[in-house]
């Protein structure tokens, strides 16, 4: 327990200290470094410790008697509400006050009357918790480290914003602490508290620059997440007063009685959909890109949106074939496809990443909603790979922006020659997101198989179409990086060393994960799934899965050992490409001009027009705005998904409460 409490409280402590260090100084950088390194090593130590000394199979339980802590949490919840009230009044956004009060007041009441707790423990550590602790600890800490270098450059470039970098860094750490609390809580009210902390933290981070746009976007993020918080609260009230339970693990015991649990599961799933920015709630995550890059990286990769899918993956044993499961699966699959089409139409690097996050989370959501073991396996793997890869992508885009002043994909032309180190990171990131020997695609493969096995035709179709459009937007970005203009030279990137300290380990991790994921799967993911699904109505255990996990042959379900070896060979071949390039280029050969119908003016960058004058050529990617433009597609998607969510929620609410 001591390690875990340290893991949760240590970031809060660092956040507290940083809050008072307003000026950029060596001391502050040092504290951030200590905080990040400390949190990282703590999370690794915690994982090892849980495996060696605790009964992780059944879950380790802590803190059954928590009266004083409950009072503390009630007080902190009140503080959170007051912060929201204060800012809502300041910016005249009154409706969020209602949402905040609706979520917080019942929580306060239950904490103060002691309703929120039975003798069950508040904290539970199982395999999924350990996986999440590692994801949040490793990726999140590296992002905090990166933030030190980034925020300094950010304020150098943006003199117009007041430098509140101490506050910014402090928020990042508070976020990590809240996330650690969220993933280890078993008590629903505690989880709700941390849930609200992440909502408010992300709201404050998005509004960091205090521009009208930032304020507007931050309040949009706030109301959406608070709405989710209200749904969460409704689930808690139902659990406590109707089912007389207080914990998630107690709720999961009822997995075989879907009629009893339909209301709380639907409400929790709704909360998770808002947090994971699934359609129709995708807007807040896209708006979140106004914030400085480290906070986007944190929101998109290790924390916030992952809290939503984490909850869904926890609930997935109760999803298979239920109304809530259908809602989650359809919304997830639809978001995966629609967001990947929308990602084609934008050229702002961060926006492409944002849509891609929404899209990938959609796939995880769909996998959780599908509620089959294989799908959950794929969902957890996607979560891990996505965190590592996406944080790296955000970091490299941020570093590129600080070096060149632009983060538009069109301006990344020829990056491989101009900024080879950043291009290297980005290439690994894009490969990791899109093509096969790398992680994301492997997990997608498992998801496809699970969707077919579950017999849901719509999910299979969403996945097939969505993965096709996913390839399109990633590879055209990669193509831009690879287009070499003749005579371009290497520029000096002004990326501080501390940012490289964050990016290189992530790049290496992204590669190594492709080789060691069977180990992660065998050690943590499969045991978790076996435990989680043991008591539930898992109707669709496939033969392949059983032989995969029990026989030792074939480390996991969808991907056999043979396939794994083939992919390893592919990965090695790709890694050898730079070496092969040296060998091929060692033979001197004639370099020729590119083909421009014979009108190349001799430097590959311009041509002679019909008047014989020299004209520069300008090459741009396709965005297909006429077909899937944001203006055309987005409103349609939002209306469709809203209608679906509202009708499904109505069905679940009426069905759960009155029948």
């Amino acid at each position: 327990m001591s390690v875990l409490s340290f893991l949760i409280l240590f970031p809060f402590f660092i956040a507290f200290v940083l809050f008072f260090l307003k000026k950029d100084s060596l001391v502050r950088s040092f504290i951030v470094f200590i905080g990040a390194a400390g949190e990282l090593s703590l999370s690794v130590y915690f994982a090892i410790d849980s495996y060696l000394y605790h009964d992780i199979e059944m879950g380790t339980f802590y803190l059954s008697e928590t009266h004083d802590l409950d009072m503390l949490i009630a007080a902190l919840e009140l503080c959170l509400m007051l912060v929201v009230f204060f800012l809502a009044v300041k910016y005249k956004k009154y409706p969020v006050m209602i949402l905040s009060a609706l979520g917080t007041i019942p929580a306060l009441y239950m904490d103060l009357t002691g309703k929120s707790t039975t003798m069950a423990s508040h904290i539970k550590v199982d395999h999924l918790t350990v996986i999440m602790v590692l994801v949040v600890g490793v990726v999140g800490s590296l992002i905090c480290m990166y933030a030190v270098g980034y925020i300094r450059d950010y304020h150098r470039h943006h003199k117009e914003f007041r430098d509140r970098s101490g506050y910014f860094l402090s928020l990042l750490f508070a976020f990590l602490g809240a996330m650690m609390g969220l993933i280890s809580s078993d008590n629903l009210t505690w989880m709700f508290f941390f849930w609200e902390v992440t909502s408010v933290c992300s709201f404050l981070l998005i509004g960091y620059s205090r521009t009208p746009e930032a304020v507007h976007n931050s309040f949009r993020a706030l109301w959406m997440n608070l709405l989710g918080g209200c749904a969460f609260m409704a689930a808690i009230i139902f659990c406590i007063y109707v089912m007389e339970i207080t914990n998630i693990s107690q709720l999961l015991v009822y997995a075989s009685l879907p009629t009893v649990t339909v209301f709380p599961v639907a409400m929790l799933a709704f909360a998770a959909l808002t947090k994971s920015a699934q359609m129709p709630f995708s807007g807040w995550l896209l708006g979140a890109m106004v914030a400085p890059t480290p906070s986007s990286a944190l929101l998109h990769s290790a924390t916030m949106v992952k809290a939503g899918v984490y909850l869904l993956l926890r609930l997935s044993p109760m999803m298979c074939g239920t109304y809530a499961g259908t809602m989650v699966a359809v919304i997830g699959g639809f978001t995966f496809f629609a967001a990947s089409l929308l990602a084609i139409t934008v050229s702002d690097g961060k926006k492409v990443l944002a849509y891609s996050t929404v899209s990938n989370l959609g796939l995880i959501t769909a996998a959780a909603g599908c509620g089959m073991e294989e799908a959950v396996w794929a969902g957890i793997m996607l979560l891990i790979f996505h965190s590592v890869t996406k944080s790296m992508m955000f970091m490299s885009v941020g570093a590129y922006e600080n070096s060149t002043g632009s983060r538009d994909v069109e301006d990344m032309h020829g990056m491989i020659v101009r900024y080879p180190r950043l291009a290297f990171i980005m290439t690994i990131g894009i490969f990791g997101m899109s093509v096969v020997p790398m992680g994301m695609c492997v997990a997608k493969w498992a998801a496809l198989r699970a969707f077919i096995d579950s017999g849901s035709v719509y999910l299979t179709l969403f996945l097939c179409f969505g993965s096709a459009s996913t390839i399109f937007y990633w590879i055209k970005w990669l193509g831009k990086i690879f287009s070499v203009s003749r005579g371009s030279e290497r520029h000096k990137d002004n990326v501080p060393a501390v940012e490289w300290i964050a990016m290189y380990p992530l790049a290496i991790l992204a590669m190594v994960l492709c080789l060691v994921y069977p180990l992660i799967s065998a050690l943590a993911v499969i045991p978790y799934i076996q435990n989680a699904f043991s008591g539930s109505v898992s109707r669709l255990v496939t033969a392949a899965f059983e032989s995969g996990s029990a026989g030792g042959e074939g480390i996991i379900a969808a991907i056999s050992t043979e396939d794994f070896i083939i992919m390893g060979v592919m990965l090695i071949c790709i890694c050898l490409l730079p070496v092969a390039m040296k060998m091929v280029n060692s033979v001197q050969e004639r370099q020729v001009l590119s083909y421009m119908s014979g009108f190349n003016s001799g430097n590959d960058r311009s041509f002679y027009d019909s008047h014989g004058e020299e004209k520069d050529q300008w090459l741009s990617n396709w965005y297909m705005n006429g077909l899937f433009g944001e203006k055309r597609l987005l409103p349609f998607c939002l209306v469709l998904s809203s209608a679906f969510v509202i009708s499904m929620m109505t069905v679940c609410a009426i069905g759960g409460l009155f029948i």
């Binding site: 032309h413 996945l463 097939c464 096709a468 399109f472 287009s483 050969e589 004639r590």
Partner: protein, 290 residues
Amino acid sequence: MTEYSMISVIIYLIFAPFIVSILSGVDRIVTARMQGRCGPRLLQPWFDLIKLFSKESTAVNGIQKILVMAHCFFAIFSGAIFFAGGDILLVLFALTMAEVFLILGAYSVNAAYSEIGAQRELLQMMAYEPMTLLTAAGFYLSAGSFRVTDIISGNVPLILKMPGFFIGFCFVLVVKLRKSPFDLATSHHANQEIIKGLTGDLSGPVYGFSLLAELYEEALMLGMAGLFFLTSDRMSIIAVFIAIAVIMFVMSLIDNIFPRVKWETLLKTEWIVTFFAGGGNLIILSLIRK
């Protein structure tokens, strides 16, 4: 890997380019006859390839050559997985990987024709990939496995269970064999608006590599078409040959009858066919399975 799959991989590696170039030689003669011309020699595609490799090697930049070679390598690699009887989804993913390298090679030149060809190739991939993935799903549902060795060990030809997938797959073949109307990215015809598209800046042996990759890729695609007909009965191989001959003939016919279409039409037709033919067949198969 069994002995049988070893042999089939070796046959694929050694003979596939030769066999496919004869097929495309026949195709060119048939096309010429349809247009009232005499047409080239049967082995012309093969001689073209040999000649390219004897030319001087030139490149526009330092990374173009290695990217095209990587494309060739992965195209052969994915075919080898297929003919070894491996997982058909892995084959498709590896093929995507190969395509990505060709596209990057075209992007790397930074020239208008290459780049527009590269984006059209990407678009084509986006258009046909749902169908190829669905076809794999169809094989899985009707044969119970993604592995090629299991798919071909059934008793009845799978086309009976998956006619919708077959129709959709033929649409993919039109794209993959670079037949008009869908030869948007690069074309075998000289009169096309973007000239050679994404291979426009390749020359000599580098272009040879891309052609070689295309031959291997075609062998793979025709092999996949053969999966619809092959059963555990040895004689079904004759059905495969007949089917491939018919498919090739229909492709030539399409090549000659249809005018070229815009990319929007490509995307829409492909996706509509995928959705209705593939999706409809998928629903039926899922229902049967339950």
